[in-house]
C-alpha cells in the first residue's frame, strides 16, 4: 500500500513537471497578445 501511494505521488510530480514545461513552451494568446491582435489593421 505504501509503495502504491509513493508511486502515485511521484507520478503526480512527473505530470506536474510535464504540465509546467508544456504551459511554458505553449504559444498561448494572453491579454497582451490579444491587445496586439485587436490593434492590428484588418
Amino acid at each position: 500500500m505504501e509503495n502504491v501511494v509513493d508511486t502515485l505521488m511521484n507520478i503526480l510530480i512527473f505530470v506536474f513537471i510535464g504540465l509546467m514545461i508544456w504551459l511554458y513552451a505553449k504559444k498561448d494568446p494572453g491579454p497582451d497578445d490579444r491587445q496586439e491582435e485587436s490593434n492590428r489593421p484588418e
Partner: protein
C-alpha cells in the same frame, strides 16, 4: 469581506481544522505527522530540487538582462530606505526563530554528527555550522524572494492586484481553468497564511514563556503564563494595525533588528571574539564551497537515523519556508516597489544570508565554546531547545538585561509577523487593495489571535509544527507555477 465566497471557504476550512484541534489535539497531530511523513518520504527529492531550482533561477534572473527591469514605472522610487526594507523583510521572514535557534541548532547538529561517528571531531563544528547556514541561508530566501518577485512584478509592472492568483490570470487570460486554478491558489494561500501565522503565534508564545520563566525563575504550571503573554501580545499588535504600514512596521522591525544586532555584538565582544571570527570564516568557507551541491543532497544510501534527521531538519525547514512564502512573499513585494529585479534579488538573497552567517557563527560558536568549557550542558537542545539561548546568556555578564532584551526582540518579531500577515490577508479579502481599511485589518488581527489561542490551548509545539507543514505542502507546486508565469511574462516583455 464575509460576502466573498473565497473568504467564507477559507475561513470555514481554517475553522474546521481549529475545531478539530480543540476537540482532539492528539488525533489532529497524529494525522498531520503521519501525512507529513508520507509526503516527505515520497517528495523529499522534489522539495530539495524545487528549493535548488528556485535559487538557481534567482541567481540567473539577477545576472541576466531581465535584472535591469524595474518593479514599477520608470519614475518610481523605493518607498523605504534600504535598511528599513531589509529590516522589515528579515523581521517578517525569520525574526523570532533566529533568537531561539541561534545556539540551539548548531549544537543540535554537532551532537548528531558526533553520535554518528563518521566525521572527525574537529570537523563536527564547521559541518554543524554549515548545515545551519544551509537551512537559514540562500535556499530559504530564494523561496521567499522568487514568490515576492512574482507578486511584485505583476503588481507594479503589470498593474495586477497583489494576489497569488493574479499572475495566472494575466499570463493565461481569463479562461475558466485559469480562474479555477487562481481561485484554488488564493484559497490555499489564505489557509496556509492563517494556519502558519496562528502556529507562529503559538510557538512564539511558548518561546517567550520559556524566556520569562528563566528571567523571573518561575515554575510553569498550566497555561496561565502562556495565556498572559498571549493577551499582552494581542494588545501589542492592535496599535500597529491601526496606523499606516510604513510607520508601524518600519518602526517595529527596525527596533527588533537593532536589539538583535546589539545582542549579537554584545556576545561577540564579551565572548571569545577570535574564536567566533574563526568559526564564522570557517563556516562561511564551507558554505560558499558546498551550498549548491548540498541543495541536491537527499541522503539516499545512509543509515535510517540520518534519513530521519534529514526529514526532521532540512525537509521540515524547506516546508516551513514554503508555508511562510505566500505571506512573506506578498509582504516583501508590497515594500519593494521601485527597485530593479537585480537589486531586489541581490538584497533579498545576500543581506539576510550574511546576517544569518554572523548570527549563527557567533551564537553557535558561543554554544560550542560553553559546551567545551562545561558551562552549558549541550543536551539541553534535546530536552528543552527553546531555553538554550537563555541558558547561554545566563552564563554571561549582564544576563538579566540580555535575557530581557531577547524577550522584547522576540515579542516585537512576533508582533511584526502578525501585523504583516493581517495586512496580507486584508489585501486578499479586499480583492487586492494595497491599503486595506483598518477595520478589515483589525478583523484579521482578531481572527489570527483566535486561531493562535486554539493552538496554544493544544499545548503541543510539535503538533503545531506538523499542522503548519501539512498546510504548506501545496506550495511546492504553487510557487513553481508562479515562477513559470513570471518567466513566460518576462520572455513576452523582452520580445515585444
Amino acid at each position: 469581506m464575509f460576502r466573498n465566497p473565497l473568504m467564507v471557504t477559507a475561513l470555514s476550512l481554517t475553522a474546521a481544522v481549529s475545531i478539530w484541534g480543540l476537540m482532539d489535539a492528539q488525533a489532529l497531530a497524529a494525522f498531520a505527522a503521519r501525512t507529513v511523513s508520507v509526503i516527505l518520504r515520497s517528495r523529499g527529492w522534489f522539495i530539495m530540487l524545487t528549493a535548488s531550482a528556485l535559487l538557481i533561477i534567482s541567481i540567473w534572473l539577477a545576472l541576466s538582462r531581465f535584472g535591469q527591469i524595474k518593479l514599477g514605472r520608470p519614475e518610481d522610487e523605493p518607498e523605504f530606505s534600504t535598511f528599513s526594507w531589509l529590516a522589515m523583510m528579515f523581521a517578517a521572514g525569520m525574526g523570532v526563530g533566529l533568537l531561539f535557534y541561534g545556539a540551539a541548532e548548531p549544537i543540535s547538529h554537532f551532537l548528531f554528527i558526533q553520535s554518528q561517528g563518521d566525521i572527525p571531531v574537529h570537523r563536527a563544528g564547521p559541518t554543524a555550522l554549515f548545515l545551519t547556514y544551509f537551512h537559514w541561508g540562500l535556499h530559504a530566501w530564494a523561496i521567499y524572494g522568487l514568490t515576492a518577485l512574482v507578486i511584485a512584478y505583476f503588481t507594479f509592472r503589470r498593474q495586477a492586484p497583489p494576489l497569488v492568483s493574479a499572475p495566472v490570470k494575466i499570463v493565461f487570460g481569463d479562461k475558466p481553468w485559469a480562474r479555477t486554478v487562481g481561485w484554488l491558489m488564493d484559497l490555499l494561500a489564505i489557509y496556509a497564511i492563517a494556519i502558519g501565522l496562528a502556529g507562529s503565534i503559538a510557538l512564539g508564545v511558548f518561546q517567550v514563556e520559556d524566556g520569562v520563566a528563566t528571567l523571573f525563575d518561575i515554575q510553569r504550571t498550566g497555561l496561565g503564563l502562556g495565556l498572559s503573554i498571549f493577551v499582552v501580545l494581542c494588545l501589542a499588535y492592535i496599535l500597529p494595525l491601526m496606523v499606516d504600514l510604513s510607520k508601524g512596521m518600519a518602526a517595529l522591525s527596525n527596533t527588533a533588528i537593532l536589539i538583535a544586532i546589539s545582542l549579537m555584538v554584545f556576545v561577540l565582544l564579551v565572548g571569545p571574539t577570535h574564536l567566533f571570527m574563526q568559526n564564522i570564516v570557517e563556516g562561511f568557507g564551507e558554505y560558499v564551497t558546498n551550498v549548491l551541491p548540498h541543495g541536491f543532497r537527499s541522503y539516499t544510501f545512509f543509515q535510517e537515523s540520518v534519513g530521519q534527521w534529514f526529514s526532521a531538519w532540512t525537509l521540515n525547514y524547506m516546508l516551513w519556508w514554503l508555508a511562510w512564502a505566500p505571506f512573506v512573499g506578498v509582504f516583501i513585494a508590497r515594500i519593494s516597489r521601485g527597485r530593479t529585479i537585480r537589486e531586489f534579488i541581490l538584497g533579498v538573497l545576500l543581506a539576510p544570508t550574511t546576517f544569518s552567517i554572523f548570527w549563527f557563527g557567533i551564537f553557535g560558536g558561543m554554544g560550542f565554546y560553553q559546551g567545551a568549557a562545561n558551562q552549558l550542558d549541550p543536551t539541553v537542545v534535546q530536552t528543552d531547545i527553546n531555553r538554550t539561548t537563555f541558558l547561554l546568556l545566563e552564563t554571561m555578564p549582564l544576563s538579566k538585561m540580555t535575557i530581557a532584551a531577547t524577550i522584547v526582540a522576540a515579542f516585537l518579531f512576533i508582533v511584526t509577523s502578525v501585523v504583516s500577515a493581517a495586512y496580507v490577508l486584508s489585501m486578499f479579502s479586499t480583492g487586492g487593495d494595497q491599503d486595506p481599511p483598518v477595520k478589515v485589518k483589525l478583523t484579521w488581527g482578531v481572527i489570527l489571535g483566535a486561531l493562535g489561542l486554539v493552538m496554544i490551548l493544544s499545548g503541543s509545539a510539535d503538533a503545531v509544527r506538523q499542522i503548519i507543514a501539512l498546510s504548506a505542502n501545496p506550495f511546492v507546486f504553487i510557487i513553481l507555477f508562479l515562477v513559470m508565469c513570471l518567466l513566460k511574462a518576462l520572455k513576452r516583455e523582452k520580445s515585444v
